[in-house]
């Protein structure tokens, strides 16, 4: 920016905002996450009106605006609905690029579950490919208690 700076020196103020938050997951997500951590089980929640099994589970149905009712266990296997192969990663990502994100439809669920894929050749990933959850060895009650999904080789 050419001559703006002929008479004045630019000052840049470096901000380092760091504000701690403690987000309560609430009853519904806490049940889902503790089951993931302690049992290695994936639970969705059923909507009495549209009969969808919502994954991740919600207290209310985003489609019908009614309370969900039953817990329904869904499979740790499913199919890839869509994916992206990440070539340039960021430090926030749980895996090092190249790796893939996918929207996954687990058997027994009605909505897509977003997660990462690993143990797979990039060229091998296809829509409709069957995949299975690989659980983390140390589990903390987080979405990353599923370390990643990998192909099911028949």
């Amino acid at each position: 920016m050419e001559d703006f700076w002929s008479n004045v020196q630019p000052i840049v103020y470096e901000g380092r905002i760091k504000v701690p938050y403690s987000w309560q997951a609430g009853e519904t997500a806490s049940y889902f996450l503790t089951q993931l951590r302690d049992q290695g089980k994936i639970w969705g929640k059923h909507c009495p009106r549209c009969t969808k099994v919502l994954l991740p589970p919600r207290k209310s149905c985003p489609f019908c605006f009614v309370d969900t009712d039953k817990w329904v266990e869904v499979s740790d296997e499913g199919v890839v609905e869509t994916f992206t192969l990440v070539r340039e990663g960021t430090p926030l990502q749980p895996l090092k690029a190249p790796f893939a994100y996918a929207v996954i439809l687990l058997d027994g669920a009605s909505t897509g579950f977003v997660h990462v894929l690993s143990e797979v050749e990039p060229d091998e990933i296809k829509e409709g490919m069957r995949i299975k959850a690989v659980f983390a060895e140390k589990r903390k009650g987080s979405l990353l208690d599923i370390a990643y999904f990998k192909p099911v080789h028949s």
Partner: protein, 381 residues
């Protein structure tokens, strides 16, 4: 609906980085230009809406930080978090409430001052999504692939959007990514997250925009033709990506249909003369033109390949270069309204389309993968 017009508009020079102004000063530039354009002073403004996002600004209640430079001191000022097209919607409804004769609406971003992937990652639910590290680019890559697979769209077909819009931006003195590029250049650009490459992705810019809306009786004494709001609507889809069919944009379809009904439009392809839409990624222009009803589902690729959306096509899309030319994030939708309004006034300079513009469309997006869409139809009469 009572008649409301856009009587003034101003936008800054957009750039990858504007070092010589801080963000309120950027807003002041746009506001000053809009008042001058309307031929009124700040006393002619009855109330103010600012559009902002605390995370991009690194400041809470960031709307208050731009109150002074929007002339809001001593006035009713409120804020919209999100995109400027939605801020303008709130400004419009305040006039329609009967309480105000004029509303000044601002929107701005200094994208250069933070880290986009950190900010867009924070748009995801912290319990169920955020730890995956998704951001705007990687989540839109999931959508791009879903859409392209469903309708058999190639990366080369999407690349046509980058070629057209970056080419159009060469005629836009406020844009900063005007480029003469080819499909091969897009295909050879760095692969970021398949199928998205560097040139499929809009830049992140520093910039601000401002429009002044007025009730009909206050829109008379201005130095140029008022641009009338003929129809406007917005609609949101579900929050979580897995709850949506990403190959479609149902929220946009619904918003467009409602805006067309209000404007008395039967056939948008024939009746709309020019459109300025928010295509943060190349595939989005194809998908959004389908959602807007300019063609059938999956027909976006044919529409652009036919030349219909070129500057002198029968339905030009983004003659300003759209977001590919400059993308001051929060201001993007407001600048689409402003560019569409300039086309209606016939003062879009080198960007002006050849045909006489009776009706122009503008579109803003808020949320990840087009969760929410705002559609404006503007007209001469």
């Amino acid at each position: 609906m009572e008649r409301v017009a856009i009587i003034g508009m101003g936008q800054t020079q957009h750039a990858a980085q504007r070092t010589e102004v801080n963000f309120p000063e950027l807003v002041y530039e746009a506001v000053s230009l809009a008042l001058k354009d309307a031929g009124i002073g700040i006393d002619g403004i009855d109330n103010v809406i600012t559009t902002c996002n605390d995370f991009w600004d690194g400041r809470t209640i960031s709307s208050m930080a731009t109150g002074d430079v929007s002339g809001a001191r001593g006035k009713n000022v409120s804020a919209v978090e999100g995109d400027g097209a939605f801020g303008a919607f709130y400004g419009l409804t305040r006039i329609l409430s009967g309480a105000y004769g004029t509303t000044l609406v601002t929107a701005y971003s200094k994208g250069s001052e933070s880290v986009p992937y950190l900010i867009t990652n924070a748009a995801f639910d912290p319990i169920y999504m955020r730890s995956l590290g998704l951001d705007m680019v990687t989540s839109c890559a999931l959508q791009a692939r879903r859409y392209m697979k469903r309708y058999g769209i190639s990366e080369e077909e999407c690349a046509l959007v980058a070629v057209k819009n970056r080419g159009n931006a060469l005629a836009n003195p406020n844009a900063h990514q005007g480029m003469r590029i080819t499909v091969e250049d897009v295909m050879r650009s760095r692969r970021i997250a398949d199928p998205l490459k560097l040139y499929d992705i809009s830049p992140v810019s520093d910039g601000a925009g401002c429009i002044i809306l007025a009730r009909e009786d206050r829109a008379k004494k201005i130095p140029h033709r008022p641009v009338w709001v003929k129809g406007v609507s917005f609609c949101a889809d579900a929050y979580l990506l897995g709850d949506r069919e990403l190959s479609e944009c149902r929220a946009l379809e619904k918003a467009a249909q409602a805006a067309y009904k209000m404007a008395g439009i039967q056939d948008p392809r024939k009746e709309i003369d020019v459109a300025e839409i928010s295509e943060a990624f190349t595939y989005q222009e194809l998908l959004w033109t389908e959602g807007l009803g300019f063609c059938e589902k999956g027909g976006g690729k044919k529409l652009i390949a036919s030349g219909a959306t070129a500057k002198n096509g029968d339905i030009p899309v983004n003659p300003s270069g759209g977001l590919m030319g400059a993308h001051p994030v929060i201001a993007a939708g407001l600048i689409r309204i402003l560019e569409a309004a300039r086309q209606v006034r016939g003062d879009a300079g080198d960007m002006q389309v050849k045909k006489q513009v009776q009706l122009a469309l503008a579109h803003g997006v808020n949320g990840v993968c087009g969760q929410s869409h705002c559609v404006w139809v503007l007209g001469r009469d």
